[in-house]
């Protein structure tokens, strides 16, 4: 009897393990696959640095997305907010403002967009989809107004250094991504507001009955997301040495994808920063690896979509299991 059930139990255990660690396994498999295809290139310092550099801005914006998704919402305006912040910083500097002022104003703009999202969702009871879709539309319009439809450039070298400089031969945006990720992780894990966000994401009613100020917590989550998105946008402008109304617009979709990918990492199936970073890693490794193998860009897009579907399906299975 025991002998008969053992393989079935082992199969179930492997299935559960794959379900639990599916995203991590996927990342490892991708790394092994690309390393096997190009052992001379893929895991070299230059290429790993390339991957980190390419995903650093996405990691920051995905961090912002994680905060709102922990609360059980999502923010469609993170990409547009980052573009607007970059454009505002650029326009300020071109207008002669000192760098610190340009960055401060851009951060303030991000904060305000986040605050507006928060008010619409937490206090005026709009759904996150409608509210952030609406703000995204307006924010893109503002970005076009700020840039006058052109690409702003000729920023001070010190500003560009934020995005293009290196410390210990590692690009500075990688450090920014690391520091911001650690801060968001710590806030989510160790602070009262972080626990409140988790509680709201788990069950709004129970949180309310437990004394959590749900409205204020959701407002704060969207405000933080706006601010962090603005940091990403400012760094993107510094990294490219230019700012346009739509630059980095793909970060919205990829940030949601990264969070969904990350939701499969932990048992609860909820958004979490560690998982999001693994999701960002999958997106970065896949894009870099497929580029190195010379895979057609359209096929890359198809593969990215399939990976997102798989991740969401895994996440759904996990939630059902829970």
């Amino acid at each position: 009897m025991t002998t008969t059930n053992a393989p079935a139990r082992a199969g179930q255990a492997i299935g559960r393990m794959l379900l639990q660690g599916g995203t991590v396994v996927a990342l490892l498999l991708l790394i092994i696959f690309f390393f096997a295809m190009r052992p001379d290139i893929f895991l070299t310092f230059v290429n790993v640095k390339n991957i980190l550099y390419q995903v650093s801005i996405l990691a920051i914006i995905a961090g912002a997305q994680t905060v709102v998704m922990v609360v059980g919402d999502f923010d469609l305006s993170v990409g547009a907010t980052s573009s607007l912040a970059g454009a505002v910083a650029g326009a300020q500097m071109i207008g002669g403002a000192p760098i610190w002022q340009a960055i401060s104003v851009a951060l303030l703009v991000g904060l305000i967009v986040g605050l507006v999202n928060g008010v619409l969702i937490a206090y005026l009871n709009l759904t996150a989809f409608v509210a952030t879709l609406a703000t995204m539309t307006s924010v893109v319009g503002f970005a076009f107004l700020v840039t006058e439809g052109t690409t702003l450039f000729n920023f001070p070298a010190e500003f560009n250094e934020l995005g293009q400089g290196k410390f210990l031969n590692i690009p500075i945006p990688v450090y920014f991504a690391l520091v911001i990720s650690v801060i968001i992780w710590a806030v989510l894990k160790f602070t009262t507001i972080g626990r409140s966000w988790h509680a709201i994401g788990g069950n709004v009613e129970v949180s309310r009955l437990s004394g959590v100020n749900v409205r204020r917590a959701r407002l704060l989550a969207f405000t933080v997301a706006g601010l962090v998105s603005a940091i990403g946008g400012i760094l993107l402008a510094a990294r490219l040495g230019s700012a346009s109304a739509v630059q980095g617009s793909d970060n919205m979709m990829f940030s949601v994808a990264a969070v969904f990918l990350g939701m499969t990492v932990i048992k609860s199936g909820m958004a979490n920063l560690g998982g999001t970073m693994i999701g960002v890693g999958i997106i970065g490794v896949m894009s870099n690896g497929l580029n190195i193998l010379g895979v057609n860009a359209y096929i890359q897009q198809v593969v990215t979509g399939i990976i997102i579907i798989l991740a969401v399906t895994l996440s759904g299975l996990k939630t059902r299991e829970r």
Partner: protein
């Protein structure tokens, strides 16, 4: 009696002549202003934004009754708006930078209403959709950029050249294809074996940057040149080359102020192309004015004009396309 008869004949002649005049003119009754519907989907690009302002100014100068429709690259919004304006009547339609493939319903509505469509840079091949489409010479663009790279590299035989294109844009698609043919004919190797495709113009710069950075990571010193279909992506390619310490050269198309600044600085960005949009608009407006006067349509429905290679030598004299 004879005088009365003469008066009657004279009056009849005046009426007949005026009727003939009406029939021969392009539209616009004497007491009504000439009605023009202008539309563009590319108003959010710098050149598109210039076009909207320039056409509005020309219409004011010529006393036209202008309806300007800006599509924001959203054909679902733009096409019905133009069709609705056609329904209210117009003498001519002016299309700026919108490929005929995207405006089939507008073309049908205009044909049904008997209104001619004049266009600029709205397709790379002749089409019955327009009575006139004036655009730039794609082969000329390719010839001059390929020659600039050939001169800089001391010939193209055996050189590794990456071509970056974007298929949804007909002009870029056409010139990228022509560039591939030209490089192959000159004996160059096409990096990656085919044209590398950017998916969205909005993220063209970061996509091109990643494409070139990843290619160089896999093939250190593997590029001698990068030919790019437009300046924004060319700037991303140029940045990737500079960051990798490569001396490969880049060419773009558009002559944006940022590209011109890079060319002047003497880095990887070798040259770009200036397309004479103000002169092209003047030509198209001239055709419309002629049609307004006597109903004469241009002799050909497709016309290409030459472009200027912008390099370090003439960069200072060029008006950037985003500062028109």
């Amino acid at each position: 009696m004879r005088n009365k008869f003469k008066l009657l004949v004279a009056a009849a002649a005046v009426v007949a002549l005026s009727l003939t005049g009406c029939a021969a003119s392009g539209g616009g009754e004497a007491d009504k202003p000439f009605k023009v519907i202008a539309f563009t989907s590319g108003n959010q690009t710098p050149v598109g934004a210039w076009w909207v302002k320039a056409v509005t100014a020309k219409a004011k100068e010529l006393g036209w009754d202008l309806t300007m429709i800006q599509g924001d690259f959203d054909f679902q919004k733009m096409n019905p708006a133009v069709e609705s304006a056609i329904g209210q009547g117009a003498d001519v339609i002016l299309d700026g930078y919108t490929d005929y493939a995207s405006i089939g319903s507008i073309v049908s509505a205009a044909k049904d209403a008997g209104i001619p469509i004049f266009a600029m840079d709205s397709g790379t091949e002749p089409t019955d959709a327009f009575v006139s489409n004036v655009t730039t010479d794609q082969q000329g663009i390719v010839d001059s950029t390929v020659e600039a790279l050939s001169t800089e590299l001391g010939g193209l035989k055996g050189k590794n050249v990456m071509i970056i294109g974007h298929d949804p844009h007909p002009g870029i698609r056409m010139r990228a294809g022509l560039a591939e043919e030209a490089f192959k004919a000159a004996g160059a190797n096409i990096a990656g074996g085919e044209i590398q495709k950017v998916q969205s113009p909005a993220t063209g710069r970061t996509e091109a940057l990643a494409l070139v950075a990843d290619y160089l990571a896999a093939n250190p010193n593997g590029l001698d040149a990068v030919w790019v279909g437009w300046d924004d992506a060319a700037l991303g390619a140029s940045k990737a080359l500079a960051e990798a310490g490569s001396s490969a050269k880049v060419t773009g198309v558009d002559a944006t102020s940022e590209a011109i600044a890079e060319i002047t600085a003497g880095g990887n960005f070798l040259a770009t192309i200036e397309q004479p949009w103000p002169a092209i608009l003047d030509t198209v407006i001239g055709y419309i004015v002629t049609y307004q006067k006597d109903g004469t349509l241009p002799s050909t429905n497709f016309e290409t004009v030459g472009t200027t290679l912008v390099n370090k030598v003439n960069a200072a004299k060029i008006t950037p396309s985003d500062k028109l």
